[in-house]
């Protein structure tokens, strides 16, 4: 199974998950109203969504050049990160169990895609346009600041530096997913963890909408927490990357709240 098969699998799984959670969390009344007003609602958030689309487009175009540029402009902070936290990730992996590996791997690949896409659907379905605009802005801030960090810092993850004590659990257990993740990640750009920052951003905004979607708030927080741990458990990120990811999420949410009242 390679890129195409993994991609089809991802799209099918995430689509089913979104369909199910749309009916359970959003509800049919809201969905019907959304279908009637979908144009107007997207239009209301046109500026932030346009900005997000632009950021994603630029991101996909410059990802390779950025990884290259980092070798010229950036600092290799891998030794510094190791100096700060040492074998912490190896300690996390000391709890490894096949069931946990499966849980964290699926959360890292499928849970993450679901977590990022579903709130777009859920917030379009709201009459109040604020959450959708905030989410779009917060995503844009995450990707933009993430990209800046990727130019400034070269960092390899623990699996690539201390491979004797940290196993590359995702790719040794499910090697097919490396074709998928290598489409959006570069192994020399792990600082900060965008998996952490974007998941936490979603959970943060879900908390703001907890009165409308109490179920989603709980689901998002749980999945985000699993993803945050998975980045370390799978040997992909250092705890330092995760800490930076949390700080990035806090910044993104702060910016979003400031600009969307």
């Amino acid at each position: 199974m390679t890129l195409v098969a993994s991609l089809v699998e991802l799209v099918v799984v995430v689509s089913v998950a979104i369909a199910v959670s749309s009916s359970v969390i959003v509800g049919f009344d809201r969905l019907r109203a959304t279908v009637r007003n979908v144009r107007g609602r997207v239009k209301r958030a046109a500026a932030p969504i346009g900005a997000l689309a632009a950021v994603l487009l630029v991101n996909s175009l410059v990802r390779e050049p950025v990884a290259e540029a980092a070798w010229i402009l950036g600092v290799n902070i891998t030794p510094t990160i190791y100096g700060i936290e040492g074998e912490f990730v190896a300690w996390v992996q000391s709890f490894a169990h096949p069931a946990l590996t499966a849980l964290f791997s699926y959360a890292y690949v499928f849970g993450y895609a679901y977590l990022l896409v579903f709130p777009l659907v859920a917030y379009v379905a709201l009459e109040d346009g604020t959450p959708l605009r905030r989410l779009a802005i917060a995503y844009s801030v995450n990707y933009t600041l993430g990209l800046v960090c990727y130019v400034l810092f070269v960092a390899y993850g623990p699996r690539n530096m201390i491979g004797d004590s940290v196993e590359s659990l995702l790719y040794t257990t499910y090697p097919q997913y490396q074709f998928l993740t290598s489409q959006v990640n570069t192994n020399s750009n792990v600082f900060p963890s965008l998996h952490t920052s974007l998941s936490t951003t979603v959970a943060g905004i879900a908390w703001e909408t907890r009165e409308t979607y109490p179920g989603w708030s709980a689901v998002a927080t749980t999945i985000a927490a699993i993803i945050v741990v998975s980045t370390m458990y799978l040997g992909i990120h250092w705890a330092t990357d995760v800490a930076a990811g949390l700080a990035l999420a806090a910044t993104a949410i702060w910016v979003a709240r400031r600009y969307v009242e």
Binding site: M1, T2, A5, E64, W71, I72, N76, T78, P79, Y82, G83, V154, Y156, R159, N160, M161, I162, G163, D164, S168, Y171, T172, P175, Q176, Q178, F179, T181, S182, N187, S188
Partner: protein, 590 residues
């Protein structure tokens, strides 16, 4: 180290205390004392950075670096590991000299001939970039032996080669670690008759169609994406392994089954009259991939161009760092007629001089335009480089059996078979049965060994070309469609030192570092037995110097300890004997 400037640590500490008190006393003696103390460079803990590839790119280097760093730390040295990609490492080590030490592997070089060591260690190359003396090592005695090895024959050459190996073993400009087995996996439902490992260009030319298959594309996978972005045979930071450049470009001669055979040359004759000369006849009808004929002018151009890629337009010659050892064997070259060139060699024995015939031949009409100085590059600004050395050589025009089709960076490379190449003609240098069983060779890039094996297992590729680590061997064994191939490789692992800068400029220090690596352990733990530990780069050849054979332990720099357990006290004592000082257990800078 240990020179007149160092003084007793006890005295020094008292001096510091007294100096601090100097601020309170006003006598001239006190101030003088403070000046004595503060005027000296302060000492701090000695720190070293070990460069290594990340595990995704090489499963061994980072692990070797880890155990070395751990042992260095136990000797009181602040050792850190810095993972970096191929390009960054080669650029820092080979071009800019910006490193302390690295763990790495020599390329798929001709490591059966001791003349390799000439360009690797001769001090004439200490200031040049590329694989010539990356260690910046200078030793006049060694230079002498290296020169003798080049010019002498028979027993005199053997003696010189032994002296070279003993000098290397004693002074450790680099530490030879182990000769690995190249591991690969292939599936045989589409193509079969894999000889050697697919990382060898001849293996890719030697496959046959499986009986019931009708595949026209050979698909291979690598975890080294550089070949999808750069096809410049002269770019040192891109060329240290991989078979594809050898398939795109031909050389006059090529090593097949351990002997040099005519390749693009139909034949050559060597004669000795006022120096050593070779008259080389080219094959008839050979063409570049763009359809232009290959003539003697291209061959002569190649040797002149590699000796000075500015072709005389720069103030000093800008030789190609790649192939420098081999081009240095050629003094001059002249065109006799369309298909005949005459090479005049520098002083060298015939067997050594013929190595010069194995460099890739370049088309003059493409490369003649690339003599301008490079304007932008990640290089020292004051070091000359030409476009020829820096460019990616897009759409490479070679003359080899495969031609460039298309590429997507870090994803894919497609090459197609050149049907009228001499390999498929009436008098081929190796028998491939008149044609290849495929029209196209597609190279896919995978992120790591695991995903490369996954691609072959799932039927998305026929073979892995980048050497695999032993961690994927069990997986290959479980899959019924996969076969494991292993071949001894001369591309040995080593630790390279920057001998131009303290503390690795100190031979005694390097000897201690070499003794911190338990090579036997490295082979059993890191390579899981798929390697041979070695004390000399000539290990496994007839050239190996007596006394440097591996007999369970390193004969030159034995490990400080037993069975992987470091005897740190003994290593520290050796460093102290070499004049190094400790403070609170930390090794101090000079």
């Amino acid at each position: 180290m240990g020179d007149a400037r160092s003084n007793q640590p006890g005295l020094r500490r008292r001096a510091v205390l007294a100096g601090a008190g100097g601020a309170l006393c006003s006598t001239a003696g006190c101030v003088q004392r403070a000046r004595n103390v503060l005027g000296r460079d302060s000492t701090s803990q000695l720190s070293l950075r070990i460069l290594t590839l990340p595990t995704d790119a090489n499963p061994f280097s980072a692990r070797i670096a880890r155990s070395l760093a751990e042992n260095l730390r136990r000797c009181g040295i602040d050792a850190q590991i810095e993972p970096a990609d191929y390009e960054a490492i080669l650029r820092r080590v080979l071009i800019n000299g910006d490193f302390d030490l690295y763990v790495g592997q020599f390329g798929r070089a001709d490591w059966t001939d001791p003349d390799q060591l000439y360009s690797l260690l001769h001090s004439a190359y200490a200031s040049e970039s590329g694989w010539q003396n990356p260690f910046r090592y200078t030793d006049l005695d060694l230079d002498g032996h290296l020169e003798t090895q080049r010019t002498a024959a028979g027993i005199a050459r053997e003696r010189a080669v032994r002296s070279i190996q003993r000098t290397i073993a004693e002074t450790q400009p680099f530490t030879t670690l182990a000769f690995p087995d190249s591991l690969a996996t292939v599936r045989v439902d589409r193509f079969r008759n894999w000889t050697g490992v697919p990382g060898d260009p001849l293996a890719l030319l030697g496959v046959e169609s499986a009986p019931t298959a009708s595949a026209s594309t050979l698909r291979v996978v690598t975890n080294d994406g550089r070949i999808t972005a750069n096809w410049n045979p002269l770019a040192v930071e891109f060329r240290n392994r991989g078979p594809f450049i050898d398939l795109l470009y031909d050389s006059l001669a090529r090593r097949v089954d351990g002997e040099r055979r005519p390749w693009l040359a139909a034949d050559w004759t060597v004669e000795r009259s006022e120096g050593l000369h070779a008259t080389v006849d080219l094959r008839e009808g050979a063409e570049w991939h763009d359809g232009k004929p290959i003539d003697a002018g291209d061959v002569a151009f190649t040797y002149r161009f590699l000796a000075d890629t500015s072709l005389g337009s720069a103030e000093t010659a800008v030789p190609s760092p790649q192939f420098r050892g081999r081009t240095s064997l050629v003094d001059s070259v002249s065109v006799r007629d369309d298909r005949t060139v005459r090479l005049s060699f520098a002083e060298a024995a015939e067997a050594v001089a013929e190595r010069a015939l194995t460099i890739p031949i370049l088309p003059e009409h493409v490369w003649r335009e690339r003599t301008d100085p490079a304007t932008l590059a990640g290089l020292d600004a004051n070091r000359a480089a030409t476009e020829a050395l820096i460019g990616n050589n897009p759409g490479p025009v070679g003359s080899g059996p495969l031609r460039f089709d298309s590429a997507t960076v870090d994803q894919r490379l497609a090459l197609s078979v050149v049907d009228d190449h001499f390999l498929f003609g009436s008098d081929p240098p190796v028998d491939v049965g008149g044609s290849l069983p495929y029209d196209e060779l597609v190279v896919r890039v995978a992120g790591s060994d695991e995903s490369a094996v996954e691609l072959v297992a799932s039927g998305g590729a026929d073979a892995t070309v980048s050497p695999l680590g032993p961690s994927v061997v069990p997986r290959i064994g479980r899959e019924t469609g996969l076969r494991l191939l292993a071949a001894g490789s001369r591309a040995f692992y080593h630790v390279g030192y920057n001998t131009a800068e303290a503390p690795l400029s100190n031979t005694r220090f390097r000897q201690v570092v070499a003794g911190l690596i338990d090579k036997q352990r490295v082979v059993s733990d890191v390579f899981e037995g798929y390697a041979m530990p070695a004390a000399s780069p000539m290990h496994g050849t007839d050239w190996l110097a007596p006394g440097l054979e591996w007999d369970g332990a390193d004969p030159a720099t034995p490990f400080f300890g037993e069975r992987g357990d470091l005897d740190a006290a003994s290593a520290r004592a050796t460093l102290a004997d070499a004049g190094y000082q400790y403070r609170d257990g930390d090794l101090l800078t000079e």
